[in-house]
């Protein structure tokens, strides 16, 4: 389905190709603004816990941080 914001994704958080494509977080902000316009107060909460990254991914991030730090030193 197409909108003025671009093609929609069925998966939460996924950025889809197209000008103005939005992430899940941006859509939540849109929804909160819409609720505010309608005079409804409150926050939109996302259900479910964020998935824990794998050890491999966490190690990669650690090494990347080290590389960035070393890059700044040199």
């Amino acid at each position: 389905m197409s909108t003025e914001h671009g093609r929609r994704s069925d998966r939460p958080g996924e950025r889809v190709p197209g000008a103005g494509a939005k992430t899940l977080e941006q859509r939540v902000e849109d929804l909160e603004r819409l609720l505010a316009l309608l005079g409804i107060e409150g926050e939109v909460a996302l259900e479910g816990e964020p998935e824990e990254p794998s050890l491999e991914e966490q190690s990669r991030r650690f090494v990347n941080r080290i590389r960035e730090r070393e890059g700044k030193k040199s």
Partner: protein
């Protein structure tokens, strides 16, 4: 013929880690049940069979010729994962279980540092494992475990000649 120096360095590190004997913190806190060299840190390596694990992974290795010529300097970079099972029934942020988790991580890190620095030349294979410093990441999260990573670099040298090529002492 002797094994490559890098392999001997890995063997030396693993042997030292495997030799840790717990004496309730007087010297070391936790004797490892698993000490292994791994290609990467797979989640499944942490399982219920082992209470304390030390996993060593290779990272980058650099080689350069020293100014004197015919002499090479290498630096082998490693990541060491230290992990102990820790699964309180209900851990709440800021609670006593979290403090205990942090304490266990501190003990694991100190055990690893202590054994690496006990003989920082690894039997003469390197000048000093602390040459490039050791960086510790205590921010790792893995359900049921207290764990941390240590990154360190082991410098070593070798020579070469026109007739025999590379010579590793």
């Amino acid at each position: 013929m002797a094994e490559p120096k890098h392999a001997r360095i890995v063997d030396a590190i693993l042997a030292r880690l495997a030799g840790i004997v717990s004496d309730a913190g007087v010297t070391y806190w936790y004797a490892p049940n698993l000490v292994a060299a791994v290609h990467h840190f797979e989640d499944s390596y942490l399982d219920q069979k082992h209470d304390v694990s030390y996993l060593l992974m290779d990272l980058d290795e650099t080689h350069a010729e020293e100014a004197t010529g015919m002499r090479g300097s290498a630096a082998a970079e490693f990541l060491l994962l230290v992990a102990k099972r820790f699964a309180p029934p209900m851990e709440q942020a800021g609670g006593t279980d979290t403090r205990l988790r942090m304490r266990i991580v501190d003990r694991l890190v100190r055990d690893a540092l202590r054994v690496l620095l006990l003989e920082p030349t690894l039997g003469g294979l390197t000048s000093n494992v602390m040459t490039d410093g050791i960086i510790v990441d205590r921010s790792l999260v893995f359900k049921g475990w207290a764990l941390a990573e240590l990154r360190f670099t082991v410098p070593y040298s070798y020579t070469w000649t026109a007739t025999s090529g590379l010579v590793e002492p």
